[in-house]
């Protein structure tokens, strides 16, 4: 990969592939590619959740002798972020994953937040070396953890696997339940690492919109 470039609107991403390089791309994320690039369905990661969709990945290869471009977009108004080159070992929400260099191994994960009984999201494990690109709903922010943190699962899109994760221990469950703070959505992260979060939760916006929507459009 030569460079990353966002378009002026910030909602699509142009990647430039050096000759001989290839990129894994989430199937729905590919907007366009230069005509002499080879794009083929290369992987199909089955769902690990009961109702979650499977994840289909395309492999885009640059077999030409020049640099070529591909354009990617996410499903929502998005902020893009390239996870660091080098050794990757992280879990990414499948909906947030966009693309990764061919050196990155991608595998489907068991549902990460097991206490969230209705966890509908697929998670992918990324390992190996190279760059991975993720997107967030709204401007992404990082929570650097060196110690112990409580994090709302709905905001998490990616985290380092060096972190230990546990369902929030029921130290003070009565007060939290009374506060309508859904205990199952708060997870306890400990150790050293980074959690990448998104500010906007589609479910929260949806619940605010619902009273104004016609019944058949909900």
């Amino acid at each position: 990969m030569k460079s990353l470039m966002r378009d002026p609107c910030g909602n699509s991403l142009q990647l430039q592939l050096n000759p001989g390089r290839s990129f894994w791309i989430l199937q729905r994320a590919l907007v366009a590619a230069d005509g002499d690039l080879t794009v083929r369905r290369a992987a199909y990661l089955p769902s690990r959740t009961t109702a979650g969709p499977s994840t289909a990945l395309d492999l885009c290869e640059n077999t030409s002798s020049d640099t070529r471009s591909i354009w990617l977009a996410a499903a929502t108004d998005s902020h893009f972020f390239a996870l660091a080159d080098g050794a990757l070992d992280m879990a990414v929400r499948a909906r947030a994953f966009l693309a990764a260099e061919d050196g990155v191994k991608i595998a489907s994960c068991e549902p990460v937040f097991s206490a969230c009984q209705e966890e509908p999201e697929e998670w992918l494990g990324l390992s190996g070396s190279g760059t991975a690109i993720i997107s967030s709903n709204g401007t992404m922010y990082q929570v650097t953890i060196d110690g112990e943190y409580l994090v709302n699962v709905d905001n998490v899109i990616c985290y380092s696997k060096s972190l230990s994760i546990a369902a929030q221990e029921p130290k003070r469950p009565p007060t939290r339940k009374m506060a309508n703070l859904d205990l199952s959505r708060i997870y306890h992260f400990s150790g050293r690492g980074t959690v990448w979060c998104q500010p906007n939760q589609t479910a929260a916006l949806s619940s605010l919109l619902r009273p104004y929507l016609k019944r058949n459009s909900v």
Binding site: N152, I186, N200
Partner: protein, 216 residues
């Protein structure tokens, strides 16, 4: 009232030792594990129930205390994508519309107050959610927030109104307009009058919902 815009869609705060913050449960993004969370009928049971009945704000709010000896870090998010703003109240009062509230310092009082006959007749509710006292208050808009200093009258779509200061009041519609509204069953655009600052948002939930409804 000094106000400062925040450049991100989430709020990162350092909570000083012994300090506390009040927010809604769903707004919590992350916090250091030794901060103490407490459910609170903030302002007392009557005010909490009144607040619950007259606005969509829950009776129980989330109080985050820092019982440690050093400052602790936490992050909050707002369900609507848009600008965040922090205002510092010094024995002042500000009215927020539905969904605008993000968080406030513990010293800020949250009360439902009589909105005035103008608000009732123009369809803007009998009670408004007022924040008063001293301390910081954070609120958010849907889309960009626009600050306007008003000295006079302003005709507006209430779906775009986020907050306004105490010096502003809704004007009652004139009698012919009121009769026309009653006959046709339609609302009229309300007017804010007085002197003070107000905040408008660039998008409205109803506008987005109408757009979605047209495409369903």
């Amino acid at each position: 009232m000094p106000a400062s815009w925040l450049t991100t869609q989430h709020l990162e705060l350092e909570l000083e030792p012994g300090c506390a913050l009040v927010t809604l449960p769903g707004n919590l993004s992350h916090l250091e594990a030794d901060l103490h969370l407490k459910s609170s009928l903030y302002g007392g049971l009557p005010h909490a129930l009144f607040r619950r009945l007259c606005s969509r704000m829950p009776a129980r709010l989330l109080q985050i205390n820092n019982p440690t000896e050093s400052s602790r870090h936490l992050g909050l998010v707002h369900p609507l994508p848009g600008d965040l703003i922090c205002q510092t109240l010094a024995d002042q009062k500000v009215t927020l519309t539905q969904h605008a509230f993000l968080a406030c310092d513990l010293g800020v009082k949250i009360r439902m107050q009589w909105a005035g006959i103008g608000s009732v007749l123009s369809g803007q509710g009998i009670f408004h959610l007022n924040f008063s006292g001293s301390g910081r208050i954070w609120f958010a808009g849907f889309g960009a927030l626009v600050e306007k200093n008003l000295d006079g009258e302003l005709l507006l779509d209430p779906g775009y109104l986020v907050a306004f200061e105490d010096g502003l009041r809704f004007l009652p519609p004139s009698l012919p307009k009121l009769l026309l509204c009653l006959v046709r069953g339609e609302g009229s655009s309300p007017r804010l009058s007085g002197r003070g600052k107000l905040y408008l948002q660039s998008r409205s939930l109803r506008g987005l919902a109408d757009w979605l409804n047209n495409h369903s």
